[in-house]
Amino acid sequence: MISGEQTPTQYIQHHLQNWTVGEGFWAVNVDTIFWSVLLGVLFLWSFRRVAKKSSAGVPGKWQCFVEMIVEFVDNSVKESFHGKDKLIAPLALTIFVWIFLMNVMDLIPVDWLPTAAMYGGYWLGFVDDPHDVYMKVVPTTDLNTTFALSLSVFALIIIYSIKYKGVKGFAKEMTFTPFNHWALIPVNFVLESITLLAKPASLALRLFGNLYAGELIFILIAMIGFWQLPAHFAWAVFHILVITLQAFIFMMLTIVYLSMASSEH
C-alpha cells in the first residue's frame, strides 16, 4: 500500500525504519522492545497458566499443546546435552518460543500494524504527519534483538566453559588446540578466538538475515497491487517454514554450543 506522495524507495525505507527515541548509542527502538516484550509476556503468561494447574492427571487441550512443545525441547536438550543442568532446558524453551513468536509477526500483512500505528499516533496528536510514525513489528529483523540473544548465549558459553573446565582449562583450550605445541600458542589463540566469536555472530546474523530478507520480500510483494494477495499467501506459506526453522536452529545451536562448552575434549 503506497500512499500518493511516497516513492517505492521511500515506502521501503519507511517500513524498515524503527521507531527510535533518543540519540546516538543511547537511542532505544521502542517498537522492537514493545513487541518483543509483549510477545515474551504472552509466551510466559500462557505457559504459566498451564504450569500453575499442571498435574499428572488428564491434560486439557492447551496443556497438551504446551506439554508437546516442552517435551520436544526437553528431548532436543537431552539428545545434545549430557549431564544435569537446570538452566539449559528452560533457556532453550524460551529461545524457541520467543523467537518463534517474534518471527510470526512477519506473517501479519506488512501494512496493518504500521498503518494502524501511523493513524493512531496522528489522531492521538503525537505527531503532525502520519508519516513521521515508524513501526517495525518484527523484533527479529532488528539486529539489537538477535545480538541481545546471541550475546547472552555467548556469555553463557564462557560461563559454562569456566564452570566446567576451570579458568585454566578454558585458557588451555584457547591456546593449545587445535595444535598442541607451545610454539603455536599465538596461532591457536587466534583460531580459537575466531571460532568462539563466530558463534554469537553467526547466531545473530543468521536469524537477522533470514527474517530481514523475508520481511523485505513481504514489503516488495505489498507494492505490486492486486496480485499481492496470492503472492503474499504463497510467500507466507513458504515463510512459515523459515520462521519455525530459524527458531529451531537458534535453540539447537544454543544447546550444542553450551554442551560443547561444558564437555571435555
Binding site: F47, S55, V70, L93, L151
Partner: protein, 156 residues
C-alpha cells in the same frame, strides 16, 4: 538498523524471561509430564501383571478341574466296586441263611416226626393191646402174654 541501547534492553528482557521460565514455567510442566509418564508406565505394568495373574489363575483352575474330575472318576469306580462286593456278600449271606433255615427246618421236621412216631407207636401199642385184649380177653391171661405184646409194640 543501528546497534544501540535497545541491545541492552533486549538483553535484560531476555534474561528476565529466561529466569521466569526457569523458575515458574519449566519445573511444574516437566514434573507433571514426568509424573504422568511414570503413572502410565505403572499402569501398563499393573495391567501386564494382572494379565499374567489371570493366566496363572486360569491355568490353576484348569488343573484343579482336571484333578477333581479324576477324583470323581476314582470315587465312582470305588463305589461301583464296593456296590458289587456288597451285592455279592449279601447274596452269599442269603444263601447261607437259607441253607441254615432249611437245615433247621429239616431238623425240626425230623424231631417232630420222631416224636409223632413215638406217640403213634405208643397209641398203636395201646390200641393193639386193647384190641388184642378184646380179642383174647377171653382166651389169654393178660399177665402171661404181656411180654409178647411188648415185643410187638417194640417192632412197630
Amino acid at each position: 538498523m543501528n546497534i544501540n541501547a535497545t541491545l541492552i534492553g533486549q538483553t535484560i528482557a531476555f534474561i528476565v524471561f529466561v529466569w521466569f521460565c526457569m523458575k515458574f514455567v519449566w519445573p511444574p510442566i516437566i514434573n507433571a509430564i514426568e509424573e504422568r509418564q511414570k503413572k502410565i508406565a505403572d499402569g501398563l505394568n499393573a495391567g501386564e501383571r494382572a494379565q499374567k495373574d489371570l493366566e496363572k489363575a486360569q491355568q490353576e483352575i484348569a488343573e484343579q478341574l482336571k484333578e477333581a474330575k479324576q477324583q470323581a472318576a476314582e470315587i465312582i469306580e470305588q463305589s461301583k466296586k464296593r456296590g458289587a462286593k456288597i451285592v455279592e456278600e449279601e447274596t452269599q449271606r442269603g444263601h447261607e441263611e437259607r441253607e441254615k433255615i432249611v437245615a433247621s427246618g429239616h431238623e425240626e421236621v425230623t424231631a417232630e416226626r420222631n416224636r409223632v412216631r413215638e406217640e403213634l407207636r405208643k397209641q398203636v401199642a395201646v390200641l393193639a393191646v386193647s384190641g388184642a385184649q378184646k380179642i383174647i380177653e377171653r382166651e389169654i391171661d393178660k399177665d402171661a402174654h404181656s411180654d409178647i405184646v411188648e415185643k410187638l409194640v417194640a417192632e412197630l
